[in-house]
């Protein structure tokens, strides 16, 4: 049951990295949470990657707004961006509450997210929507996996679970908005979507660990 918690194909090396990371986690005091060692490691990982993901999404929307802010699709992107900002703030609070460690690669995701958002927006409005669709699709699948892991984990994880479920629903909503806005008409939609999704998966893999 515990092996199912790690992503498939998790080798001994990454397991060692996980335990090494948790070595960097401070000596927990009893009054903070009622999680045991194993659950604390899981929480640390989950909060780190979710924070990194929302941070990246925030930067992507910032890039899109930078280019498309004054166009007719601006208010819609602004609405989606505001929701992402709320997600980011929630995970920031969780980092300090659970004493989890943010990812080292945050500056990299800062630049990469903004570049991705601005770059796809410069191609065309449909490309920007295709980027939104791709990213939100990956994030939704990622959240679904986390929800599954948390449901399998023994103990009471209602707070984190309800948060992730709510955010997953909002990300799905963004995905649908992107499709409504004619994302599929973007140039090289399939390749663009696949490339962006591969990049997101790589980012998730790295930030879960580092």
């Amino acid at each position: 049951m515990h092996a199912a918690v790690l992503p498939s194909g998790c080798s001994i090396l990454s397991r060692r990295l996980l335990t090494l990371q948790s070595c960097l986690k401070p000596f927990q005091l009893c009054n903070l949470s009622t999680l045991d060692d194993h659950q604390k490691k899981i929480y640390d990982r989950i909060i780190r990657i979710d924070h990194a993901g929302e941070f990246g999404a925030d930067r992507i929307y910032a890039g899109q707004m930078f280019v498309l802010g004054k166009t007719d699709v601006g208010p819609l992107i602004q609405h989606m961006w505001d929701q992402e900002k709320h997600h980011l703030q929630t995970f920031k609070d969780m980092i300090s509450k659970h004493r989890s460690r943010p990812t080292v690669l945050l500056p990299l995701w800062n630049i990469a997210g903004f570049a991705l958002g601005a770059g796809t927006a410069l191609i065309s409005k449909e490309a920007a929507m295709a980027c939104t669709v791709a990213v939100e699709d990956t994030i939704t699948k990622h959240y679904n996996m986390q929800i599954r892991k948390l449901l399998e984990l023994n103990g009471d994880h209602d707070e984190l679970l309800s948060t992730i479920k709510k955010f997953r629903d909002e990300e799905m909503e963004h995905h649908d908005i992107g499709l409504e806005q004619n994302a599929e008409a973007a140039p090289a939609y399939d390749i663009l979507k696949k490339t962006i999704q591969m990049g997101c998966s790589a980012a998730i893999f790295l930030s879960e660990r580092i």
Binding site: I12, T19, F27, K70, S96
Partner: protein, 335 residues
């Protein structure tokens, strides 16, 4: 090697994932287990290795071996507290493990044997002045604890476990101190500034070294040995994170790392200065600490002003581009 690769990398991908195996299975190779049938009670990060010695005749009532008074005059029964703290921490960790451990060993046995090690090392600290951080000190400690001198064999290496034990105990005492300090602040309603808090924390922690000042350079050397360095780095990281946590740090961006790195460097440099300080009550060291904290404050202010200047310059550059664009009559791009 190919077999290991296949067994460890290829096969996990192929097999069904829902194998009911605990995450942190202890394999006998990595833990130097001396005998068989030892349960994987602890995570690799736990400070406990489990032995199969079951020293029942040894009294587990922690008798009142005097806790050293720290130079600030706080007396702790933190030995008992830290033991029970460790036990509660371990018990927390083991309740989940108990469901998954394969055999009939209870966590109690592990607690006994961990307490033995702690007891030996606590006693060994008294002999550091005579024998420095060595096996001889540990074996004298074992004898003082009522065991045979050869029980020092349960510790690997030279006096490394002794130094690490001392560092851990000091960090635990620092944690208690900080917890008390925060509680006092909450009760009195006064919030200490984080730089003030950090200064107090570092001073407290460095004063814990004072009784061992004569041998501390040896101890620092031991902590830098390649086999010990990961553990000592881990201890430093945990201590630094603890200090920032109690100082009220809530950062969640890259400054999380810069803050901790800066504090670790501050602690290291002050510790080094203290080694060579001969002034009464280490007055020069505390002044050195104050100067370093001032430096850090200045750096923070300078970087703040640089970033505001940078922002202003960026805006200025953009505004001239906008003005130029309007003059030349380029329309806004509509998509």
């Amino acid at each position: 090697m190919l077999k290991t690769f296949v067994r460890r990398v290829v096969l996990p991908k192929v097999y069904v994932q829902d194998v009911a195996r605990p995450l942190n299975t202890v394999s006998s190779k990595s833990w130097n287990l001396q005998k068989t049938a030892v349960p994987p009670v602890c995570s690799p990060c736990a400070r406990k290795t489990v032995l199969t010695w079951n020293i029942r005749q040894y009294s587990m009532n922690n008798d009142s071996s005097d806790e050293q008074q720290s130079a600030t005059g706080d007396t702790f029964t933190s030995k008992n507290e830290s033991n029970s703290h460790k036990n509660s921490d371990q018990a927390e960790g083991t309740t989940d493990q108990k469901d998954n451990t394969q055999d009939e060993f209870h966590a109690d046995n592990a607690d006994d044997t961990v307490d033995i090690k702690t007891k030996i090392l606590d006693n060994a600290l008294d002999f550091v002045h005579e024998y420095k951080w060595s096996r001889k000190a540990i074996s004298s400690g074992a004898e003082a604890a009522g065991l045979a001198g050869v029980s020092e064999g349960i510790f690997e290496g030279g006096g490394e476990d002794l130094v690490l034990h001392f560092v851990r105990q000091s960090n635990i005492r620092l944690q208690h101190f900080m917890k008390e300090s925060v509680k006092r602040q909450d009760e009195e309603g006064e919030k200490m500034k984080s730089s003030e808090f950090i200064r107090k924390a570092i001073e407290f922690r460095l004063r814990l070294i004072v009784p061992y000042m004569d041998n501390w350079s040896d101890a620092m050397g031991v902590l830098l040995r390649p086999n010990v360095l990961p553990k000592s780095a881990e201890e430093l990281a945990m201590m630094v994170d603890d200090i920032w946590f109690y100082a009220g740090d809530k950062s969640s961006d890259f400054s999380w790392y810069t803050k901790r790195g800066m504090l670790a460097k501050l602690y290291g440099s002050t510790q080094l200065f203290m080694l060579m300080d001969q002034s009464p009550d280490f007055k020069d060291t505390w002044e050195f600490l104050d100067r370093r904290l001032d430096d850090i404050k200045n750096i923070a202010e300078i970087s703040q002003s640089i970033s505001t200047t940078g922002d202003a310059m960026f805006q200025a550059a953009f505004s001239s581009a906008t003005i130029l664009k309007n003059i030349l009559g380029f329309p806004d791009r509509k998509r």
